[in-house]
């Protein structure tokens, strides 16, 4: 089957060379000594100027963590991680305190520019504004004239996290006018301690799991979002995570609270330099939606995936969970996962409020030697709750891609509804796709549906496309984009195009 071989070769050639974010920023860093111990935790807490309660919280988490063991139930194969051989804090030297945008080290600004994330407020995220389209709003003026509804939706406020610190947050002032709090969590701990204390650890408890507990002890930065009652957040919020420093883990913590009747759409992006060593990323994201509130959380994960032999790459162990705490609240997770050597990630929804709804839309692309074990949990607790899971796994090269999902209905969860669709697409002969659904209904009125398919890009389809003049790589991209269309449609429009391109690059080597 020569054409299949060609596809495999094409795919094999690209996994290393195609990672365009593998560069390193040379900048003076302030790095904590290696090792996870009380001193490290005290140092992080001191660097962040934290109140005592926060340090206590961290230390308790650490005590707990020492009694825990790394989970081994996922379909992932990697050598034991030496947690004492990692730096838990690294920050650019110039970042001794919070800064305004003009004070941020130009080298860092250049880094984000190279990544396509310009941290200038008058600019829109890469690829969104056409060159011929004038920017119709001023930068950060206080003229008091609100931009038109249309222009609002196209801007994105960015919180940029570089290793362990947030280096810049844009549009802060304007968001404040709407009552929206969007800032690094380290700042929120100081400025809004009551709000943080009220919600932190209430969705993902300190003792939740090995990696979440570790994160609770050593988390460094991340974003904090609070949307007041009845407010529709006037723009997309976004956090961009960058791991730069060698031998350093990134442990970010994000907390988003949507108060009654509010709405927010949030996007997270991530990249890291290309290195031979494995780097650890263990994040915790907690979402809380109160009555009638809606949170839409999208991720485009593009951590360095390692080279074709599986050398290097990010180990991504992430706990993401949303709590639909209020009646008729709604949380939706959309993820496009193309990076990381190891992905262990299950963005979940607790459907506590009556009539609440959880959604999970996922595209997981694996290539080379990447291993993905990802999925979701929909825990139906309230009455008339509903959930929807659409998962599209694409495996190429010698990668393994597992969907692991849990749907449960509590005794109280009358009329719980779930629809799950898991589709896997295989490219080549040496990759694997697995689907592991756990379904449990304790209420007789619950209705759960599960559909799963596995398909291959057939020789016939490729030949057909090529016969029409579409080159092979473009044909693969076309077929794959058709396969993931349902999920791409869920992404904020600005990012759908980027995501489509990213999937193309991950799979076929046409550098954008």
């Amino acid at each position: 089957m020569p054409a299949v071989q060609e596809t495999i070769d094409t795919v094999a050639r690209i996994d290393v060379d195609q990672y365009k974010y593998g560069f390193e920023t040379l900048i003076e860093m302030d790095v904590a000594p290696k090792g996870l111990n009380e001193d490290t935790i005290r140092l992080i807490s001191a660097k962040k100027n934290e109140p005592d309660w926060m340090l206590e919280w961290r230390l308790q988490a650490f005590e707990r963590w020492k009694t825990m063991e790394s989970p081994d139930w996922a379909r992932l194969d990697y050598p034991a991680i030496d947690f004492q051989d990692i730096h838990y804090y690294a920050a650019p030297k110039s970042m001794s305190g919070p800064k305004s945008l003009d004070e941020v080290d130009p080298e860092i600004l250049r880094t984000y520019e190279k990544l396509g994330i310009p941290l200038k407020e008058q600019e829109i995220l890469a690829g969104v504004r056409r060159a011929d389209e004038p920017s119709e709003f001023g930068s950060d003026d206080d003229s008091g004239v609100p931009p038109s509804e249309g222009s609002y939706g196209r801007r994105v406020a960015v919180d940029a996290v570089f290793d362990s610190v947030s280096v810049a947050t844009t549009f802060k002032k304007e968001l404040q006018k709407a009552g929206v709090i969007f800032m690094p969590i380290s700042e929120a701990i100081r400025e809004y301690p009551d709000l943080v204390r009220q919600y932190l650890g209430t969705v993902v408890p300190v003792s939740d799991n090995f990696f979440a507990t570790m994160n609770s002890a050593v988390f460094t930065d991340g974003s904090f979002v609070y949307i007041p009652p009845g407010v529709r957040c006037p723009m997309e919020l976004s956090t961009y995570f960058r791991i730069n420093e060698r031998n350093t883990g990134q442990f970010e913590r994000t907390l988003i609270i949507a108060d009654k009747g509010s709405y927010v759409s949030y996007l997270e992006g991530c990249t890291a330099p290309q290195r031979d060593e494995n780097q650890l990323h263990a994040a915790v994201v907690e979402l809380v939606a109160l009555d009638d509130a809606e949170i839409k959380y999208s991720t485009v994960q593009n951590w360095y995936p390692g080279d074709k032999d599986g050398k290097g790459g990010i180990y991504n162990f992430v706990t993401k969970r949303g709590d639909c705490r209020g009646a008729n609240s709604r949380i939706s997770w959309t993820q496009v996962e193309t990076g990381s050597a190891i992905t262990w990630k299950y963005p979940s929804c607790i459907l506590r409020g009556d009539g609440s709804r959880g959604e999970f839309y996922s595209i997981a692309v694996s290539n080379g030697r990447q291993q993905v074990d990802s999925g979701t949990k929909m825990i139906h607790l309230g009455k008339n709750t509903s959930s929807r899971i659409i998962s599209k796994g694409i495996s190429a090269g010698r990668s393994n891609n597992t969907y692991r999902g849990q749907v449960t209905a509590n005794r109280r969860a009358a009329n719980a509804r779930n629809f799950t669709q898991c589709d896997s697409l295989l490219i080549g002969e040496e990759c694997g796709a697995h689907t592991v659904p756990y379904i449990e209904a304790r209420n007789a009125t619950a209705q759960f549906e599960h559909e799963a398919t596995t398909s291959k890009i057939s020789e016939d389809q490729l030949f057909y496309c090529m016969q029409r003049g579409i080159p092979e790589e473009e044909a693969v991209a076309l077929i794959v984009n058709g396969f993931v269309k349902d999920v791409i449609q869920q992404l904020p429009m600005e990012f759908a195009v980027e995501a489509q391109k990213l999937i193309g690059v991950s799979l076929e080597g046409s550098v954008g």
Partner: protein, 251 residues
């Protein structure tokens, strides 16, 4: 335009020889029909012309406009003007027919160093061609060939042919699965594309299609060789007498 010289080919995986020395010339403006019983190598010939990699050419050559195309991949052959209307068009889930058409048209233009068509330009062409083939624009919003009826699939093939403007059209049993009305629409579409610059290779089992698309030449393929060539009356002879007579004479 097309010159096939002593073409031998086999299935790459099994080594089974299918074509055993085909010689055939098709001039610009000519409609050549290839007929033959099942298993004679008709579909294989169409795949090899289009560049399918499951077959190996072991001897001979295919010249298109005087140049060998054996080293070109299917996309390159397509861009140079070779079109194959499939007997069983493939489904591409999630890819709207319109998107597919535009991707294909622009990929070919790009390969030839031409500027891509603007959307309004492209839409105008699609609308005109679709109307000729009685294709509803709504059908073009659906994923390519997914859930299309047999007739819709064949009309979509001819629509692609009309938009891509190839110079050599190879049609593999286009009449299979078509009722009389659909056959008429498809044939009219093909006849509208006939012209002095364009050649057709029409592969079919039956005379029926050739009542609508009247060929200039008819060639009978049997066991990987052309055993008889003639004008359109040969097709009628075959219809009346079957293949046995000719095969007997050739043996």
């Amino acid at each position: 335009m097309l010159e096939i010289k002593n073409l031998h080919a086999r299935v790459a995986e099994t080594g089974t020889e299918i074509l055993r020395g085909i010689d055939l010339k098709v001039e610009a403006g000519e409609v050549a029909a290839i007929m033959g019983p099942n298993g004679s190598g008709k579909s294989t010939l169409s795949y090899i012309l289009a560049g399918r990699e499951d077959y190996e050419v072991t001897e001979g050559d295919i010249l298109f406009n005087g140049e060998s195309i054996l080293e070109m991949d299917p996309a390159e052959r397509a861009a140079s003007g070779v079109f194959l209307a499939f007997q069983y068009p493939l489904e591409i889930p999630g890819v709207a027919t319109m998107t597919f058409l535009k991707t294909a048209v622009n990929a070919q233009r790009k390969a030839r160093g031409e500027a891509e068509l603007t959307t309004p330009d492209f839409m105008r062409r699609v609308k005109t061609s679709a109307a000729d083939l009685k294709i509803d624009m709504d059908m073009l919003k659906r994923p390519l060939n997914v859930g299309f009826s047999g007739g819709e699939k064949k009309r979509a093939e001819i629509l692609q042919m009309a938009l891509l403007q190839p110079t050599l059209c190879v049609m593999d049993e286009t009449d299979s699965g078509l009722d009389i009305d659909a056959l008429k629409i498809v044939s009219d579409g093909v006849n509208a594309l006939r012209g002095p610059e364009r050649a057709f290779l029409v592969i079919t089992h039956y005379q029926r299609l050739l009542d609508h698309i009247v060929p200039d030449t008819v060639h009978v393929l049997y066991k990987g060789r052309i055993i008889r060539s003639g004008d359109k009356s040969l097709a009628l002879t075959l219809e009346n007498e079957g293949y046995a007579q000719i095969i007997g004479e050739a043996a």
